[in-house]
């Protein structure tokens, strides 16, 4: 598919990268420095400038280099060395500039006119206090499912970054999201969630862990039947959670195989 996000290297991280990132102290740092992030103009307007350099921004705590947007062109102005225009994606308008270095650049921009929906790839810069986009590629949209796709992609990427930051709320939204929409990229979310560290635990695992953490003071641990009874979760589900938590090293069995204790306090 011409607009599949998996075309871009480093765009959607593989599962092993995901696990490694969430274990490191600064999981978001290694993220967006290569690859391409789909954004809305609204997100760009809220990007924080990091450092003194005029071209370092961060969105959702992640350094942003290249971004991609989909929107409508207006105010196209052709000059000798560049073409400038405004891009309106419904969330806002941003000024863009496309430098004409080669004849292919000029040819590309000849296809673009006001009122056209385009896919833009570029870099966010600050110039005279205003944020602008330096565009590397501008292409007319021909299949309009790309418009829908782009915005869903923005939501998806935003959620991925929220989860890496350890936001439990965003995680549960991600699970609902992945089951209700049919898009292939997004359904990866539910696969990844089962393999993450503490922040990525399923609901019942989280409940069992919290219960055991709260009962940390009990030397002999808690019998699994009592866990089931207190949490009102069937014993077989408790056993599944116990297996997962044990594998993660979060709980351990004590006096016998039915009693478990958390490795950490609440």
């Amino acid at each position: 598919m011409m607009f599949s996000s998996s075309q871009f290297d480093g765009f959607v991280p593989s599962q092993s990268t995901q696990t490694a990132d969430s274990a490191s102290p600064n999981p978001s740092k290694s993220w967006g420095t290569q690859g391409l992030i789909p954004v809305t103009v609204k997100q760009l307007s809220e990007a924080h400038q990091s450092g003194d350099e005029k071209s370092n921004f961060s969105i959702d705590g992640v350094d942003v280099t290249n971004v991609t947007l989909v929107g409508m062109v207006s105010e196209k102005t052709e000059r000798v060395t560049d073409v400038s225009f405004a891009l309106d994606d419904g969330t806002g308008r941003v000024e863009c500039r496309r430098w004409l270095n080669e004849s292919s650049d000029t040819k590309e921009m000849e296809e673009i006119h006001d009122g056209l929906y385009v896919r833009l790839v570029g870099h966010l810069r600050s110039s005279q206090g205003k944020k602008q986009l330096v565009a590397f590629a501008v292409r007319p949209v021909t299949n309009f499912d790309e418009v829908t796709f782009h915005f869903i992609d923005c939501i998806h990427q935003h959620l991925q970054k929220c989860r890496v930051k350890g936001d439990a709320n965003a995680h549960s939204q991600m699970e609902d999201f992945s089951t209700s929409t049919p898009m292939r990229n997004i359904s990866n979310g539910s696969q990844i969630s089962g393999q993450l560290s503490v922040d990525g635990l399923k609901g019942s695992d989280q409940k069992v862990l919290e219960f055991l953490q709260q009962n940390y003071a009990q030397e002999k641990g808690v019998h699994r039947d009592e866990i089931a009874q207190q949490l009102k979760i069937p014993v077989n589900k408790i056993m599944e959670s116990i297996r997962t938590l044990e594998e993660e090293g979060l709980i351990y069995s004590t006096i016998d195989e039915y009693h478990y204790k958390s490795t950490t306090d609440a």
């Binding site: 419904g90 806002g92 929906y117 796709f149 999201f177």
Partner: protein
Amino acid sequence: MDTSNPTVFVNAELLGRYVGRKVRAVIQVIRNDGAAVIGKSTDEKQITVKGLPPSQLTTFVEVIGIADGQNSIAADKWTNFGDNFDIFTYNKLCQLANGEYQHLFL
């Protein structure tokens, strides 16, 4: 950069919430009588779009304009979205963009 006047993604159900504001919607054209287009919204309800449609309309059209009623839009921009468009996913996008992910859009 200007985010002061965003265009809200709407279907028929959301349209009523944004009367008076700039909205965008994709409709399936049912009838075109020159001054207004009757269309089916992405959540399968009827919407009236007033304005001057372009001479050629494809099956699906995106209209951008001001919501001027529970079921109508006064449109100033019309974009042909072709004869094949995924209205199910677009409808989901409307719900998400106005629900928990509204902060990315408005």
